[in-house]
């Protein structure tokens, strides 16, 4: 099933309209203790039309099979916008200026059979079961997804985009001496197709060994002490901090709703060591994990510089918010499925690397924690954030101590950023995540290790 071809409508679009054909393919396999919990191959394929009239938007979508149906969608979207305008009687603002783009993805969809994926996952599961018979539990999950879009706008954008990802999760549980089940998981993969990362399950032996070893180390670990303390957040953790703690508060729709970023534009919100950008497709000379060249309003994607040298300099915008804040639209309007309307979403959100070495940062902590692996997180408009920590170590007198079990960290984003006094020179990216703001959305985040002070949960 291919993306519906909307090219014939390129020159027939009504004023201030966007037409988007989109196909999402999601292959998911989950084995728990060798039994399949999920074995699914999903395709969402259809067309969405969006028409703006003044400050009102009409949207209509459907799976389609003919040009007449697509034309009907455009008419429905116009009628919906008209319904909204008719209710209020207001004419609203005019549209904002933006850059359009013509782009053709160099990638081609690769079809990998579910049977091939399942065979790989089962072989890996068997290897783990045979090599580690004493595990309390094991779970293998594989998700290969891709998002293909063709976006046309009345003002000239014609963008064909394909973003594939593939991630394999290995999770094991072991029983600790206190009877508690302790688990550790690791995600492997990245932007791209399955066969770019995986070929032979035996090649994952080293990764599996690490997962099992960490689970045992964690089982022998301690609970963190609850309270405010010095921490070094490893580069793998800083990315989610960039997303949850800062990113969400600077999405322009959150600013409009009253987030803490509103009154702080142009103010110092972080240590001068901190710069943060939501990158569109390249960062520091390299391609980011989830490159976005055009957003779903047809705006050419550009980097959204959020914090520069500690000063809050901008927000992530769609067309409407850019107009409201007199900023340039950055191409952050993204929709998950063809049936979804674009929302302001992050893309590749990253704290910039600094100059310190991780060893020196650990040595600078007298009594605190090195936090190495994050779980999921959440943020608030006030800047209050939390996220889970799956693994880390105590730091005593500048040296690593015992492993710690699952805990949670929290703080106020800008206060925590102001307390940063060291930033490492090594950057780490992750593109495995999905952000859940009304719709799911693949996002990536990255960062260096940072040394700061925040609240940690525990006993």
């Amino acid at each position: 099933m291919t993306l519906y071809d909307i090219s014939a409508l390129k020159d027939k679009l009504p004023e201030q309209s966007v037409l988007r054909a989109q196909k999402n393919t999601i292959q998911t396999i989950v084995l728990a203790g060798g039994s399949p919990i999920l074995n699914e191959h999903t395709v969402h394929n259809g067309v969405g039309a969006m028409v703006r009239q003044g400050e009102y938007v009409g949207f209509a979508s459907a799976p389609v099979s003919s040009q007449a149906e697509v034309e009907s969608l455009l008419q429905n979207a116009e009628a919906n916008a008209h319904f909204m305008q008719g209710k209020s009687g207001r004419n609203g603002r005019a549209g904002t200026a933006r850059k359009t783009i013509c782009y053709q993805t160099p990638l081609e969809e690769r079809r990998i059979s579910q049977q091939h994926l399942m065979s790989f996952v089962q072989a890996l599961d068997r290897r783990i079961a045979e090599r580690y018979p004493g595990l309390g539990g094991r779970m293998i999950s594989l998700r290969a997804d891709s998002m293909e879009k063709h976006i046309l706008t009345d003002d000239g954008t014609d963008a064909h985009i394909l973003i594939p990802r593939c991630y394999l999760g290995i999770s094991v549980s072991v029983q600790a001496s206190d009877g508690q089940m302790v688990d550790y998981s690791q995600s492997i993969g990245g932007g791209g197709f399955f066969d770019e990362y995986f070929s032979d399950p035996a090649l994952l032996d080293e990764a599996t060994e690490t997962v099992v070893a960490k689970a045992h180390e964690k089982a022998g670990g301690v609970y963190s002490r609850a309270g405010v303390c010095d921490v070094v957040l490893a580069n793998s953790v800083t990315g989610i901090l960039a997303h949850e703690a800062i990113g969400h508060t600077t999405e322009a729709d959150m600013v409009i709703s009253g987030s803490v970023a509103g009154p702080n534009l142009g103010h110092v919100v972080a240590s001068p060591l901190i710069s943060l950008t939501d990158f569109a497709f390249e960062a520091f000379g390299s391609r980011v994990p989830l490159p976005v060249f055009a957003d779903d309003e047809g705006t050419a994607a550009t980097d959204a510089v959020v914090i520069r040298d500690g000063v809050l300099t901008g927000y992530m915008n769609d067309l409407r918010s850019a107009e409201r804040f007199h900023m340039q639209p950055t191409g952050n309007a993204r929709a998950f499925l063809f049936s979804d309307e674009p929302l302001i979403r992050m893309r590749n959100t990253c704290i910039h690397p600094g100059t310190s070495r991780l060893e020196d940062m650990i040595a600078a902590v007298d009594d605190g924690y090195l936090l190495l692996k994050n779980g999921s997180g959440q943020a608030d408009g006030t800047g209050e954030f939390m996220f889970g920590i799956q693994f880390g170590y105590e730091i005593k007198g500048g040296k690593l101590g015992r492993a710690i079990r699952d805990t949670t960290i929290s703080g106020l984003a800008f206060e925590m950023l102001k307390a940063v006094d060291m930033v490492s020179d090594e950057l780490d990216w992750s593109g495995a995540g999905n952000c859940g703001k009304k719709q799911m959305m693949p996002v990536s985040h990255g960062g260096p290790a940072i040394k700061t002070r925040l609240s940690i949960g525990g006993r």
Partner: protein
């Protein structure tokens, strides 16, 4: 556009042609009408016509599924091939079709009353503006979902379920002099629009609380005290525990601490937890399990005793326990004998937690995170709103 009835026959035929020994399909067709706000004003109307088909192929005892978002013959044929491909690769779980059924169900208002939905949404926005002037309300979604569902299998089962439900998903915060409260939000599902949105569930209480949360006290120090979880917050904890301790996740991975506790006390005798998709208070609840059996309400925990597990038929086959009578998570914790005021009065020092932002409870029951939109309880009274307050504990021990 193919009807779901014609599409089902074609899908079953294609499953067989692709190599399935037996097959089933769940087909959905309908439309969503949704309003949403921008900067507190209604600004968008979205109409999304949807079609979905989930095809399941059985090859021997092996099962594989494929989903597609349109009911065209091309899509169904390809989905059938993918489902058989998945089944061929799957391990043998002795998967089988359910009993032969011929049933029709209906729930809610099938056709969207768009004008009434618009009016109810405007009414909510207006009331908040007038009665809670410090509150900024954002409607992510005020919607109606019309859905026609058909479950069919190669043994002749045909079960139709037509539903029309209204849903509401607002978020809100309050601000004054550049200071903003924590965000709060809720989701609810309704069979009709007979009641103003403000009167649904705890909507009024949560929105009103926002104004009291603009200037929270930053919590310092730590203490062990009692926690009063509001229903919205508690349901998240209960869902997690049900899945990890009694559901497929915990039972199949053998990590459930309840896996050998059937018929035993797993919580305080004051706790009774039912799973009730047929309860009239559940809008368009489950009528057919994911395995193809008619759903029935059941009791998971009665007076603290674990009565059964919340596992699917596949989970039951793999673990040797009885399958649950439904596969929903429509949880109903039975009311106790105290009013909210009496509960508060009984707490010397503790917290009222209306939202929890954190991790867990994990399989051991451990959780830690931030108590959001919370209030301190001191000497039997709700006092200050608090921020930056982490809570941690063991939910299984708390239930006990």
């Amino acid at each position: 556009m193919e009807s779901i009835f014609g599409a089902a026959e074609y899908a079953l035929q294609e499953l067989k042609a692709a190599g399935a020994e037996a097959g089933r399909c769940q087909l959905d067709q309908g439309v969503v009408n949704e309003f949403k706000t921008d900067a507190g004003e209604l600004s968008m109307l979205r109409t999304a016509r949807h079609e979905n088909a989930q095809l399941t192929a059985l090859v021997g005892g092996k099962k594989g599924s494929a989903l597609t978002s349109d009911l065209s013959r091309d899509s169904l044929r390809q989905a059938a091939a993918r489902a058989v491909d998945s089944a061929n690769a799957a391990p043998d779980t002795q998967a089988e079709l359910g009993p032969v059924l011929q049933k029709t169900f209906q729930a809610g208002e099938l056709v969207c009353n768009r004008e009434a939905l618009y009016r109810r949404t405007q009414e909510l926005l207006q009331e908040v503006k007038e009665r809670y002037p410090l509150v900024s309300l954002n409607i992510y979604s005020a919607a109606h979902r019309e859905n026609h569902s058909l479950y069919a299998d190669s043994n002749g089962t045909r079960v139709c379920y037509d539903t029309g439900v209204y849903t509401l998903f607002p978020s809100f915060s309050a601000s004054q002099n550049g200071v903003t409260s924590s965000f709060n939000a809720f989701r609810c599902k309704m069979n009709d629009l007979s009641r103003p949105f403000m009167d649904i569930g705890l909507a009024r209480m949560l929105i009103a609380q926002s104004e009291k949360q603009i200037y929270p006290q930053t919590f310092r120090g730590k203490f062990t005290g009692q926690v009063l979880f509001a229903p919205f917050c508690l349901s998240g904890f209960l869902n997690s525990i049900v899945e990890r301790c009694a559901g497929d996740h915990g039972m199949l991975s053998k990590t459930s601490p309840w896996r050998s506790k059937l018929g035993q006390q797993v919580s305080d005798a004051g706790i009774s937890l039912d799973i009730v998709p047929l309860d009239p208070r559940i809008a368009a609840g489950e009528r057919l399990t994911t395995d193809g059996y008619i759903s029935e309400n059941y009791t998971l925990i009665e007076d603290g005793v674990l009565k059964c597990f919340a596992v699917s038929r596949q989970g039951a086959r793999a673990t040797g326990c009885a399958p649950a009578p439904n596969t929903s998570r429509s949880l109903l914790l039975k009311c106790g004998k105290y009013t909210l005021d009496e509960l508060v009065q009984g707490i010397e020092r503790g917290m009222l937690v209306t939202r929890f932002s954190g991790t867990g409870p994990n399989v051991n029951g451990e959780f830690s995170g931030v108590a959001k939109n919370g209030f301190l309880i001191e000497n039997g009274k709700i006092t200050d709103a608090v921020s930056e307050c982490m809570i941690s504990g063991n939910f299984l021990q708390m239930l006990a």
